[in-house]
Amino acid sequence: MGTGTSLGRVRGLGSAKEGTHHWWRQRITAGSSLFLMLWLVASILNRSSFDYVSLHGWLQSAWVAIPMALLVLSVFYHFRLGLQVVIEDYQHDETRIVALVLLNFFTVGLGAVAIFAILKIAFGASH
């Protein structure tokens, strides 16, 4: 062993090398996603029309585009953490690494499309 103190030698050596980071982030994003999804459900119920012009104009408002972007960030971070646990529970060989990398690609790729679409509508011309 090294010459450091007992605490110095074990610090950061939890089972996942990162303590409660993952668990805590999952709880934080659970809370934020709860409020944002309730907002989305209420917004859908408040819509009187689901045609193109009506919905496009709706998403152009900053009061809609910003919470929608926050919803994507919060929910995608949350499901990225959740699916990681599912993969770690069922995949034990090398396929675990492949699945975790694919999960990151899926989350970031799909999230990028969502954010781009929201910004394109919000900053685009109105109808």
């Binding site: 709880r27 193109y52 034990h92 799909l110």
Partner: protein
């Protein structure tokens, strides 16, 4: 683990327990989470991208789930009701998890009641959601 010697005995797991609502809600939380993060997220992003793409691409998206007169078709109902039921179940079960995280609600009776309450909430909320949309 992959390195486990197959001949060694393993300890009893879920197969030795009598099924109860708490076990059903537990696995439903994972199942609905899996559905929402794959089907749900793809649907949301498809909707956003189609709306950003213009009138034509939004019409393509909309036609998959609706008849020409605007009413939901079979796909629209199955996907719509399925995804809202999964959402409300995961939402209620998630709130229950946050309560359990504080160390509360582990007494047998309260735990069972809480589990049943999430099932009741998801069915009632889904029915209320679609009835309200249908009545407008």
């Amino acid at each position: 683990m992959a390195s486990r010697t197959p001949a060694r005995p393993i300890s009893p797991h879920i197969q030795v327990y009598k099924w109860g609502p708490h076990m059903l809600v537990s696995i439903l939380h994972r199942a609905t989470g899996g559905v929402l993060s794959t089907v749900g997220s793809v649907l949301l992003v498809w909707f956003l991208a189609a709306l950003a793409g213009g009138e034509g691409s939004y019409a393509t998206f909309r036609d998959v789930f609706t008849h020409d007169d605007g009413r939901l078709n079979v796909i629209g109902y199955v996907v719509g009701i399925g995804i809202t039921l999964a959402l409300f179940q995961h939402m209620a079960s998630g709130v229950r998890h946050l309560v359990l995280d504080t160390g509360a609600g582990f007494e047998l009776k309260r735990n069972k009641t809480g589990a049943l309450a999430t099932l009741l909430f998801s069915v009632v909320a889904t029915a209320a959601f679609w009835l309200y949309l249908g009545m407008k």
